[in-house]
């Protein structure tokens, strides 16, 4: 039977842990609100860019020069670049393991091709660092404070590699923020950009030739997709951490409750024992 002091010590340690998880939950909740605001603020631009791209590509589709844009060239996928957006820190439930598992599955599914990984976030980097998958670049400590300019820099690197024929396709894996309790894992193709199904809604006058517009729009489109992936992932990470820490806090409450009950039982047993000893001692004297 464990001694009373041992159990009391365990209760105290669980309480300490609970205080930490409670604080982490509160911090995550506060940061989540800010991250959510960023996601909302970025939506109008993304929607407008999508529309302009649609209208331009509708006009550019028949254009021979536009069709030669290097970011549209579809090649057999022999060398695939995977952009994996993960968190930099753990303690966010299954957030990172889901991403890493999906990325590993992606690599296995494309065993015929050579897949290389560009890691945005420490957890993805750590996973692929010790595996046979080559890492082309790592961006740590970026996701939480990503700016459009950061996304632009990464996008330019990816686009340059693609245009130079070093990669045949670029895929993006990240967690999308659905709600506070749910994240949606997204696997999407970043390059080549698919213009199918896009067409002009009106008969536009184009100040610049459509192929020139496309030249500047496509890199921006890549940048916006990356930026969106990063801020969505940041919001999703905070949400995942908040949920994980919330359940950790309530688990700690359960543990404390059952330990306290156990402790009281032992205490009572001990007291009963002592009373019996006193009573039997007294009766022996009579």
């Amino acid at each position: 039977m464990p001694s009373l002091i041992d159990i009391r010590r365990r209760v105290r340690s669980v309480k300490n842990t609970q205080q930490i998880t409670k604080a982490m939950k509160m911090v995550a909740a506060a940061r989540l609100r800010r991250a959510q605001e960023r996601v909302l603020a970025a939506r109008p631009y993304a929607a407008m860019l999508e529309q302009v791209l649609g209208n331009v590509s509708g006009a550019a589709l028949g254009d021979e020069k536009a069709a030669q844009n290097p970011l549209l060239a579809v090649r057999p996928e022999q060398r695939i670049q995977l952009v994996l957006v993960t968190a930099d820190r753990g303690l966010a439930g299954a957030f990172n393991s889901n991403l890493v598992r999906a990325a590993q599955k992606f690599v296995d599914d494309h065993a015929a091709a050579r897949v290389s990984v560009e890691a945005i976030g420490r957890k993805g980097r750590d996973y692929f660092r010790n595996r046979k998958v080559p890492l082309t670049g790592e961006h740590l400590g970026l996701v939480m404070k990503a700016t459009p300019a950061d996304a632009g820099r990464i996008g330019d690197t990816l686009a340059a590699r693609y245009a130079a024929g070093e990669t045949d396709a670029v895929y993006l894996i990240y967690n999308e923020f659905k709600s506070v309790i749910a994240q949606k894992l997204v696997v999407s193709r970043l390059l080549p950009v698919s213009l199918e199904g896009r067409e002009a809604t009106l008969d536009y006058i184009y100040e610049q030739p459509p192929d020139e517009l496309l030249n500047s729009l496509l890199p921006k489109y890549v940048e916006t997709s990356l930026y969106r992936a990063m801020i969505e992932s940041a919001a999703a990470e905070h949400a995942a951490r908040m949920t994980a820490m919330d359940s950790a806090t309530s688990n700690a409450t359960d543990v404390i409750e059952s330990l306290t009950l156990y402790m009281n039982r032992i205490r009572q047993a001990k007291i009963t024992n002592e009373i019996i000893e006193v009573v039997s001692g007294a009766s022996a004297l009579e």
Binding site: A42, N55, L217
Partner: protein, 135 residues
């Protein structure tokens, strides 16, 4: 004919303007575009400069730096890489940037990236014009 149209100015990280306006001056890459309601559909690249518009009889302006503009009869959407309201402009910084750009252009050498310097010059000028200070 509608008397107003919708003007939306957005940058990658925020929506700066969303208002019904009666006219707008947009700095296109190939020159300023004066836009009134019922303008024919148009798509153009955006230059650096002041974007001004009238709403409720009052004139407002913001500074935009490259991007695209899409004009529809009842709406104008401006996608700017960067945009600032006049009260967000740091005059001192813009003045310094202007001077730096001018210096760089005047002592033109092989190490000077002319396109970049010109861009910086235009940006600084646009900021100062919008702030309505002499430079």
């Amino acid at each position: 004919m509608a008397a107003t149209f919708r003007l939306e100015v957005a940058t990658p990280d925020r929506l700066l303007i969303q208002e019904d306006v009666s006219d707008a001056q947009v700095p296109g890459a190939g020159g300023a575009l004066g836009i009134l309601p019922e303008h024919s559909p148009l798509i153009s690249e955006l230059g650096n400069g002041e974007l001004s518009y009238t709403t409720g009889g009052r004139r407002h302006s913001v500074v935009v730096h490259s991007g695209w503009v899409e004009v529809q009869p009842d709406a104008v959407r401006v996608l700017a890489n960067r945009a600032e309201r006049p009260d967000e402009i740091d005059v001192e910084r813009a003045r310094q940037a202007l001077k730096r750009a001018q210096d760089r252009i005047s002592k033109l050498g092989p190490e000077v990236d002319l396109a970049r310097a010109l861009n910086a010059l235009k940006r600084a000028q646009a900021r100062l014009t919008a702030k309505q200070v002499s430079h």
